[in-house]
Amino acid sequence: MTETKPNEMTGTPAAEDALLSIRDLHVEFKTYGGSIRAVRGVDLDVAAGECIAVVGESGCGKSVTAKSILQLLPSHNSEVTGGQIIFDNVDLLQYNDREMQKLRGNKISMIFQDPMTSLNPTMTVGRQIAEVLIKHQHLSREEARKKTIEYLAMVGIANPEKRYKEYPDRLSGGMRQRVMIAIAMCCNPRLLLADEPTTALDVTIQAQILDLMRGLQQQFNTAIILITHDLGVVANMARRVLVFYAGKVVEEGMADDIFYRPRHPYTWGLIKSMPRLNSEKKEDLVSIEGTPPDLFAPPKGCAFAARCDHAIQLCLEKDPPMFNIEGRHCAACWLAMENMPDALRPAWMKAEKVNVEDFD
């Protein structure tokens, strides 16, 4: 990033109050066909107790980013090729396996997408929670059992003593996700990585799980990175939103900025493709035309240019840096650059508060 345009952000230093700061993270997957550059320079900050959402379509690098925080990516074919992950003023990428083990499930924990397969089928749910307490808090078996029952009750599982002794196959998907949350929260972590925690659940259960997470977040002041492709979930939970595309952050801002004042065509595409209940016309669901770029060989210019209705020549030639728009709102789009001619910008980009219906 050599350009210094008026509103361009050049490698922001880690925010003072940040609990976790990711700077210029690069992750590659090695395959026989070559390296897939799954994450290409991600910057991300989370303050203590803050809930941020990471949105983007499948394969945009959001899960990979989360897993690389805990170093849970498969070691035989993936590699963090650059950047820093600073948690509590320490770069986690310098940690060895033993130091990471002390952190995982303790200071930073993670919830996964599919509760049906994320619990060990041959171990009682109680033991799967107690295991974490024994490991990190060095409790005796009996103490861990008592505490586990408390946590089961706290995550809203009725009859916790009975459930303690049961195997995961006796629990429904929603209850299993509650157990996963208990596993993640039982050591009062400072950061929770929730990787699509509600994707595999039906809508009524989704709301309950999100409620539960919000309650626990307030109770323990845990920061949450919520990974999702469901903008509805985002609106419910997160104060701040990062939009990922092809392994990069393309737009970042407060939830209101993202929903009402999007400045990146991809964000706009996501918002437009949300199904609406009040739509009167019978219409097909809106989608963004085209496919994400090949990450074996990412394009020279903006990764979204090929799918973008507003792309100009510059977009194809040069990858846009992050342009600051207002406060913490910034977007990686040439059209968001301050001294870009207004005529090039589409109407929605100029609006103070966009309403999707106006632009159909």
Partner: protein, 316 residues
């Protein structure tokens, strides 16, 4: 659970009955009889047949035999006077069981370790070595392995005894030879089963909990990958047991196998029947134990009892 076990026991008894019935009539169909000796005159033969109750109609003999079996009496040998089948089994079975159990134990311990090691280090040198051992073991019959081991360690190197069963050093070669096939099979099964488990989501959960690699393998991977091993344990016990015939005669071990083979050769009806019934009981119980173990290893397999789905979940 008790209901299931009872049901399985009844089926087991029925299986044994069928086995004994078939063997009872099958040995009688073999040409010749136990007293088939030119020196035995017709008069002596008639007396012998009367003595052993073989002059009665076959069907009557069958029920008499079953009646005795119920009392735990396998009858007496028709060839060796004064030797009962029970005492022969009591004398020889301990050797066979000793050999078989040692071999099975060795196969299980080494097989599980090799399989786990291979799966953890998939694609590396250790993996290839384990797979090579497994391929050799599965493709070489035990009599070749037994002969090779004997040739190398007993005859060429002279470090281990070539036969008999008189102490620990005597057990090494036959046990290794007998366990090799089973060991190889367990290694292969464990490797493939564990490779499947390694990529399951719950292993990632276990890692995300902060467990050490050893804890992840020990608590979360092994138990989930061991089920296919439990499944084949029944047939494996059978393989080890039948293997004892060959290995026992090769290493001159005074076990049951030797007597079994001889009794078929001599048409010693009661001995054949008794030993078959005994092996039958042994194998059927081994399978029964395996079935019960199943439910303990994997709680998802609820034995016969209907599975009550979690009904007071979120929906309720």
């Amino acid at each position: 659970m008790p209901k299931y076990i009872l049901k399985r026991c009844i089926i087991a008894v029925f299986t044994l009955l069928v086995l004994i019935t078939i063997i009872f009539f099958l040995v009688r169909l073999l040409p010749g009889d136990p007293f088939n000796d030119p020196k035995v005159t017709d008069e002596v033969r008639a007396r012998l047949e009367a003595y052993y109750g073989m002059d009665k109609p076959l069907i009557q003999q069958y029920f008499a035999y079953l009646g005795n079996l119920l009392k735990g009496d396998f009858g007496v040998s028709l060839i060796y006077t004064g030797r009962s089948v029970n005492s022969t089994i009591a004398q020889t079975f301990p050797y066979s069981a000793d050999l078989g159990l040692r071999a099975l134990g060795l196969a299980l311990v080494v097989g599980l370790i090799l399989g786990t090691l291979a799966a953890q280090k998939a694609g590396r040198v250790i993996d290839y070595v384990c797979v090579l051992v497994a391929i050799i073991g599965v493709s070489m019959p035990d009599f070749i392995i037994g002969a090779l081991l004997k040739l190398i360690f007993a005859i060429k190197l002279r470090v281990l005894p070539a036969g008999l069963w008189n102490g620990f050093s005597y057990t090494i070669l036959p046990v290794v030879a007998l366990s090799f096939y089973t060991l190889a099979l367990i290694t292969r099964l464990m490797r493939s089963s564990m490779l499947e488990v390694i990529h399951q989501d719950y292993i990632l959960t276990a890692k995300a909990k902060g467990l050490s690699n050893f804890q992840v393998i020990w608590r979360h991977q092994i138990r989930n990958s061991i089920l296919p091993i439990v499944t084949v344990m029944g047939p494996l016990v059978a393989a080890v047991l039948t293997g004892t015939f060959v290995i026992e005669s090769m290493y001159a071990i005074p076990g049951m196998g030797k007597f079994y083979v001889e009794s078929v050769h001599d048409l010693d009806y009661t001995m054949v029947l008794g030993m078959t019934a005994f092996y039958g009981i042994f194998l059927v119980s081994a399978n029964l134990v395996v079935d019960i173990l199943y439910g303990i290893v994997d709680p998802r397999i609820k034995l016969a009892e209907s599975k009550q789905k979690a009904d007071d979940g979120e929906e309720g």
